[in-house]
């Protein structure tokens, strides 16, 4: 599934709002590595995610470059970057079935779509859930489907925006293991934004603390 694993390079990044510098960063994230970014609200964490994903509001100015391997990303629109996103909420499209959500993630020319979807559901213990309404799933089940949707889209890097903060404690452990396990297995460079020290510990990678 991941023929060539590549490193995400954040080069000389400086994000400013009306002349004030919000944050500066210069990091590489290796395939399979999780970089954890921590910091209080207002430290520019969400701005960083918006920049990387390609949704930065024009109110902000960004200097610096973003590369995946030797491919420049920061000049590309969001849909061509190949950077997947997981939010606090699973964000399963409420108008599609569970299977529909997974199909939405698959690239248009993917082969054996139904088989891939079935296999993905089986991996997370939800075999046969294709036609279910996402609203009838539990919070944990929704999170797992969201993760599989992300992986089926074959991203080349992943951003996690406090993905465990809305789960209860027991479920949180389980999801951490699942998410980090899958991302590592897929060999994806990952950037995790969180408030929770335990998330950072479970991620097991380097930690950056923003002020």
């Amino acid at each position: 599934m991941t023929p060539n694993l590549q490193t995400l390079h954040i080069k000389q990044l400086k994000l400013t709002l009306a002349g004030d510098t919000l944050l500066a960063m210069h990091r590489d994230i290796a395939p399979g590595e999780v970089l954890t970014v921590m910091g209080p609200s207002g430290s520019g964490k969400s701005t960083l995610l918006a920049y990387l994903a390609g949704f930065l509001s024009p109110a902000f100015q960004a200097q610096g470059e973003l590369y995946l391997g030797d491919k420049r990303l920061d000049t590309l629109p969001a849909e061509h970057r190949g950077i997947g996103l997981l939010f606090q909420d699973p964000m399963l499209f409420p108008h599609l079935s569970v299977g529909g959500n997974l199909h939405f993630g698959l690239p248009r020319r993917a082969r054996d779509k139904n088989a891939q979807v079935a296999k993905a559901l089986e991996q997370i213990g939800l075999a046969g859930f294709e036609t279910r309404d996402p609203a009838t799933l539990s919070g944990g089940q929704q999170s797992r489907v969201a993760l599989m949707r992300l992986l089926l889209s074959r991203p080349r890097a992943v951003l996690l925006d406090e993905p465990f903060s809305k789960l209860d404690t027991a479920l949180r452990q389980e999801m951490r293991a699942l998410v980090f396990g899958q991302l590592r297995e897929a060999g994806l460079p990952t950037l995790l934004v969180t408030h929770d020290e335990a998330d950072a510990a479970a991620a097991g990678g380097p930690i950056v603390v923003l002020e």
């Binding site: 024009p58 969001a78 996103l85 499209f93 108008h95 993630g105 889209s153």
Partner: protein
């Protein structure tokens, strides 16, 4: 284009020089002063009363089930066209109308309809009542749409924790913040009420009529030279509306100054019972009047023989429906084709605008004033200009012209009702879609549009209702050759058979109602298997 003929310039009619004859003719009209006064006063008084009713209700409303029920009953009233409300009210309060029948002869002793001039009364009270019936739901819905962003509940809770009674808390802490948000709708109401034509034709005084109706009469006068005077009148109408708006603005400033002390004087509960009772009672009265008016229409449309003081007809019949249905086929088709075309065009334009703004993070503040312009400038004033303009470049009155003019009024309403839904849609939906690698185009068709299906259909129903209700644009730009249910109904107002009028007015009220029902039912049907989508709708 309306200015030139007002000063004597209209080459088609041989007016090649500028002069003030039209104005001299206008000033010489008997009763002009009274007409002007009627337009000015009815605009200001009705807006004041309607706003008073709405504000008092909102202050009294505590979110109990009674309040929610009242709200739910008011919203459909907005969809009923002005003309239908006017007819309904006329049938209700006329000397031989429902109200008199219900209390006669028991209370009044009348065995025959009293010889009173209730409808078309010279001081315009019936017209004002009709206007208020339509303005209250409009202002209420505008306020309800603006309120959530003010977080009124926490404001009231805070004030109540300081010892303020609920109603007073609302008036002192929420209303001052709400008013700026509904100022434009209030101005639109004033402008509409000072220049309304269809309601004034049905309920308003006749000798002399309101300024707007006089202008229409001069414009349609077989003596084409009257058009110069009509143009001068249209300019005068603009002045009257501006004067009303200016008076209101001065009133606003005065209230602002005078209320400063009241806001901070510390009085916590004086008058709170009056608010709680009055606020609800007034709104219920308005709602009941409107519902009885519709009930009256329905009753008259199937009434056979109906002796005067009887509360109900002696016999029921479908004759009126059968008699009129064959002849309404064309108007019905026109109404629907114009309404649906205008809605479709407006929908594409508005969605494209909103989607563009959403993709480029644009905040569209300044656009609002521009959008409201057709709602604030009196129709009579600029539609004549449009007609003159169309004639001078030899565009014949026709369907397309009517649709184009309807767009002027349909687009603002569609934009207003949809932009809020668009703004509230979580931007992360689009972001998730894009980050999964789909194109912005697919993200729009497959994610944003389906998620917005319910508000989109509601907005379309609003726009269809607006188009169906248009009287003056249809009449003028269609040159009488595009009859719709609305123009036919109003045309029958003066001499027509009351029962046939009831059928037409009921049809007119029914069409928007069907639109709104579809807007409500389609999402439920489409999303039958999607729980969250039904909740969102």
């Amino acid at each position: 284009m309306v200015l030139l003929p007002a000063f004597g310039y209209l080459p088609v009619l041989g007016g090649n020089t500028f002069h003030l004859e039209a104005w001299q003719d206008l000033w010489a009209r008997a009763g002009l002063g009274h007409s002007v006064w009627l337009s000015y006063a009815s605009g200001l008084i009705t807006t004041l009363v309607a706003l008073f009713i709405v504000v008092l209700f909102l202050a009294a409303s505590q979110g109990t089930w009674i309040d929610r029920t009242i709200r739910r009953m008011v919203s459909p009233l907005l969809a009923i066209p002005h003309a239908a409300v006017a007819f309904g009210l006329a049938f209700l309060i006329a000397p031989s109308g429902l109200l008199v029948r219900w209390v006669s002869p028991g209370l009044t002793g009348w065995e025959r309809p009293p010889d009173l001039l209730i409808i078309n009364d010279p001081s315009g009270l019936a017209l004002m009542a009709g206007l208020i019936l339509k303005e209250v739901p409009f202002l209420l819905l505008m306020s309800l749409a603006a309120l959530p962003q003010l977080r009124p509940d926490s404001r009231v809770v805070l004030a109540r924790s300081l010892g303020y009674a609920p109603g007073i808390a609302w008036l002192k802490c929420v209303f001052p913040a709400l008013y700026p948000l509904i100022r434009l709708p209030v101005y639109a109401v004033i402008a509409y009420a000072t220049s309304v034509v269809d309601m004034a034709l049905i309920l308003g005084p006749t000798l002399p009529p309101t300024l707007s109706v006089s202008i229409l009469n001069w414009f349609n006068d077989p003596d084409l030279s009257r058009r110069f005077m009509a143009s001068a009148g249209a300019v005068l109408q603009l002045g009257v509306t501006l004067a009303a708006l200016l008076s209101w603005w001065i009133g606003e400033q005065a209230v602002k100054c005078l209320s400063q002390r009241w806001l901070t004087n510390g009085a916590r509960s004086s008058g709170s019972t009056a608010i709680a009772v009055g606020g609800r009672a007034l709104l219920i009265t308005v709602t009941l009047l409107a519902i009885s008016a519709l009930f009256g229409l329905a009753l008259f449309s199937v009434a056979g023989f109906w002796r005067f003081p009887d509360a109900l007809p002696g016999t029921f019949t479908l004759d009126h429906w059968q008699r009129i249905l064959p002849s309404v086929a064309t108007p019905l088709i026109n109404t629907l084709s114009v309404g649906l075309t205008a809605t479709l065009i407006a929908c594409v334009l508005v969605v494209a605008t909103l989607e563009h703004a959403a993709r480029h993070h644009l905040a569209a503040r300044r656009v609002q004033w521009l959008l409201y312009l057709p709602l604030i400038v009196p129709q009579v004033a600029f539609l004549f200009g449009l007609v003159v303009a169309a004639e001078s470049i030899a565009i014949r009155p026709q369907h397309a012209l009517v649709v184009a003019t309807h767009l002027l009024f349909v687009i603002p309403y569609l934009y207003l009702s949809l932009s809020e839904a668009y703004r509230r849609l979580d931007p992360r939906w689009g972001q998730v879609a894009l980050s999964l690698g789909v194109s912005p185009w697919r993200a729009f068709w497959q994610v944003r549009l389906p998620l917005l299906l319910a508000p989109l259909l509601t907005a379309c129903a609003v726009s269809l209702a607006v188009s169906i209700g248009q009287y003056l644009p249809t009449l003028l730009l269609g040159g009488g050759r595009v009859p719709t249910i609305t123009t036919e109904a109003v045309a029958m107002a003066s001499g027509g058979n009351r029962r046939l009028v009831a059928v037409l007015a009921l049809l007119q009220a029914l069409l928007p109602f069907i639109g709104f029902s579809l807007a409500l039912l389609i999402p439920r049907f489409v999303w039958a298997k999607r729980r969250q989508m039904r909740g969102a709708a």
